[in-house]
């Protein structure tokens, strides 16, 4: 599972000697080392900081507070000064590693902070950072660490989430931006308050790369507008998390993103080829930095990714760990709503007139007639005005307007022309323009 599997037994053997009673296993960490553990499926693990200072992905731990991690969590507790923690519950692996790139990340943060200071002094905008790399190199974690460090120094950075597969802000299949005002909760992650979310509709950018680039530009535009009037956000800059797709169009999308956001720094995680290509394809004033991935990064299987996606959607409806929210189920008549899918099937080039390129089909809104196949699909509720006329103007409006929420179709009755939806809010729907996602969610549990 991990790259450092051989070390595991030795570390575990060493640390288990320092265990304290039945309450849990005690681990004593030296300075600049980290404790990595994974929670077994169907189990929970409690973490408690006994002495010293420690942090999880940049968020500091409170002493003598029990943190609970659900099944499948992969956690690294890092300490700069040394500490001792205790773990109770079944862990799949738990070991201490000295071999962590946290110092490099800290240095990166220091450099970014230097840039923010200069920006503050010169009355300019702060650093915009794009984090790229193949899948499973810890991009999201690096983003989280950097954002946490920045916000702990009183900055207000923005997290731009372009990873449509594993969004850390909203449900999968969306692209979003979130202003970070406090460090991430150790268990839950960043508090999601009023994020800006755009509908993409699929878990990989490859299904509609035009739309992906378009939404990237839209996000960049909104972010720039915000920077223009909010000095703090401007100085804080942004940290952009990207997809793990770094070949072909995926790579082009990265270059597009860099130019849309006008990034200053690109952090390339663990791939020299990507580093060299970006150095070649981005203008010289963009700093491209190659960084190693952490040894603790675990490769996730397809199933595991799907599970996290499901979990993320469930979290949207039922709250963190399925306890805090109570969603509503109600019927929506077909006639009340307009459902669209973004992207029309493309026309062969031979059918086009001379000198035309078909770039617009992917950004086209195709009306979807509701039917049985709608069942279990996730629908985004577009915030576009209902009374807007259907036309070219409006279709652009729907594409570029953010999403105000999501519903899941749980049942379709074609006879009665009614579908039942799961919604976070009671009826009626706030808006009546719905966009369909490829993503399905089956509401079990």
């Amino acid at each position: 599972m991990t790259t450092e599997a051989p070390e595991k037994s030795a570390d575990e053997g060493l640390s288990s000697s320092g265990s304290a009673g039945t309450s849990g296993t005690r681990f004593d960490l030296e300075r600049e080392t980290e404790l990595r553990f994974e929670v077994e499926a169907g189990e929970r693990v409690q973490l408690e900081l006994l002495t010293g200072l420690a942090e999880v992905f940049g968020s500091e731990l409170n002493r003598n507070k029990k943190y609970t991690f659900g099944p499948g969590s992969k956690i690294a507790v890092f300490t700069w000064q040394g500490c001792s923690v205790s773990l109770s519950g079944k862990t799949e692996v738990a070991y201490i590693s000295k071999d962590t790139p946290m110092l490099l990340y800290l240095n990166t943060h220091a450099a970014l902070e230097q840039m923010r200071r200069q920006a503050e002094k010169d009355n300019e905008r702060g650093p915009r950072v794009m984090v790229v790399g193949p899948t499973d190199v810890g991009k999201s974690t690096v983003c989280r660490v950097l954002l946490n460090y920045a916000v702990r120094l009183g900055r207000r950075p923005t997290l731009v989430e372009l990873d449509v597969g594993q969004s850390s802000v909203s449900v999968p299949g969306t692209m979003s931006a979130l202003c970070i005002e406090r460090p991430a909760d150790v268990e839950e992650g960043f508090s999601v308050q009023a994020p800006l979310v755009f509908h993409f509709g699929s878990t990989t950018p490859g299904t509609n790369i035009k739309l992906y680039n378009k939404l990237t530009s839209s996000l960049a535009e909104v972010f720039s507008q915000r920077c223009e009037v909010n000095r703090k956000a401007s100085v804080g800059g942004c940290i952009i998390n990207t997809c793990g797709w770094v070949k072909g169009s995926g790579y082009q999308a990265l270059v597009h993103c860099a130019s849309a956001f006008q990034v200053d720094v690109v952090l390339v995680l663990d791939q020299e080829r990507l580093y060299n290509e970006l150095k070649r394809d981005l203008p010289h004033f963009v700093r491209v930095v190659l960084m190693p991935k952490s040894g603790g990064v675990v490769e996730r299987s397809k199933d595991c990714r799907r599970d996290t996606r499901d979990e993320k959607i469930r979290e949207y409806f039922y709250g963190f760990r399925g306890t805090s929210f109570y969603p509503h189920a109600f019927d929506v008549r077909f006639s009340e709503v307009r459902i669209y899918k973004i992207g029309a099937p493309s026309i062969p080039d031979s059918c086009l007139p001379l000198g035309m390129s078909q770039d617009d089909t992917q950004l086209k809104l195709v009306p979807v007639s509701p039917g049985r196949d709608l069942t279990h699909h996730v629908l985004s509720v577009s915030s576009v005005d209902d009374d807007a006329e259907v036309g070219a103007e409006q279709s652009r409006g729907i594409l570029e307007s953010p999403v105000c929420g999501f519903v899941v179709v749980t049942a379709v009755d074609t006879q009665a022309q009614v579908m039942t939806v799961l919604s976070p809010a009671p009826r009626p729907l706030p808006r009546h323009t719905l966009l369909i996602m490829d993503i399905r969610f089956i509401d079990l549990k």
């Binding site: 240095n107 220091a110 703090k232």
Partner: protein, 499 residues
Amino acid sequence: MADRETATDPLKHRVYEELLSPSELFEARSRSHKIPVRGQKDFLPSGSEQQTTRLQQSLDEHWTLLTEERVERLGNLVKAVWIPDERLVELQSPAGKFWQTMGFSERGKQYLLPEEALYLMECGNVQVFYRDLPLSIQEGYERFLSRETVTLHQYQVFGHLKRLGYVVNRFDSSSVPSTYERQLNLPASSWDKQRKQLKRKRSGSPVSSDKQNTAPEEKMTTEDQSEELVKTDPRLEEPMQSADASDRTWWMEAGVQPSPAQAPSAAPRWDFSSISFPDLGSRRSGSVSLASPDPSLLPGALEVGGCDLSLWLSRVNVKQEKLSRRDRERQRDRDRYHRDINSDREVRHCRNWAEYLQLLEDRRRRRQKDRPVHLWEQEVTPLTQPGQCTSHRELLDQISIIKSSSWSEGVSSLSSSDQWKISFDIYQPDTVAEFKKSHPGKPYTRMCVCSFDGPVPDLNAMKLLSFQSGDVPVTFAVVDHGDISFYCFKDFKLPTDAY
């Protein structure tokens, strides 16, 4: 038709020369009452003998018809007096059956409008006296028809429709509910009531009093509206201009000063020689250790030591990725044709993204000139680009050059013209039985009289007329030397395909 009683009295025959003898009466009675039919194409002289004789014959028939003495029953004739000052005919004896659909009473007296009186004269129902002498039909035409009352054309239309059995009233523009009333959707009865009161007054002549009374009013309203438009226009524009600014104010936070314009600096904004990133890529050959960062830059004022990068350098993933054959080919192609953009001197001159993007935009524009000039780069371009529309309706919308407009659209901004006036309200013959002058109800159509010599009404005129008429259709009666043809323009929507 002569009265037998009067005719049998031989004494009176001498006194009144106009009284007829039984034989004459009988002749008059058995006379054909048919109006000779005119051939359809007699107006086109071919120069042939045959046609000339036929035409002459037809003309003669008409003449004899006109010169023929009318024989009327004295008791059936209603006596009336022509009052030229008021341009009205006042009845002296009780009115006949025609009173149901014609005439009006005022101050206890019964009056006929000139065209009504003339028509009744022609029908032999009324005898009109002027200065105590009866008027002949010819005199009636001369005295009653004028610019102030009704014109000959209007009378011809009036007579024609009357003979066909229609009820014809002068058009009174005040009887039509205004657009405002229509917007309010007032019940029909309320404006009927209003009309009833107005009916007490005599309705104005379709030619003159319309012009005097209602036209200025109309003008006023249109002027008002256009003024209104002018007034609102700048108001509309103002928010548009400020929209950009106000749009963004919601981002504004208190105590935030607007960001300054980017000062052009000679060097790139960030001096990366002083800002050190732990970049493994560029340190391949250079120094391999990092200095410890300034604690003030770190959260919780951490103090950490330097960092030896050599360990990490050895660990960076340099192994070849697994690429599919296609990916490898694509990459090879790219490597072959794709040079480092930074070896380009123009790119090296760019100091920030704005300049770089400008450069790319310029280059793209230069490249785009390759598009077929005759199609896309000239003044005339296709109305729509393939792939822009999702539905037929949208496509039809885009390729329609003349936008369809409805009658009621933009009428308020039109200036009313004097040339086109609605003359009559027409009610269908089958409603005559229950027709009430005080409560005429909604007309079947409204008639606008014009001549073949005049121009065809333009869109402007038609819009105005239909606006005046409200929800009642307007028919154009076109008079061609006594022949009347009827035309109407109908508002309809071109069929469009919805999906």
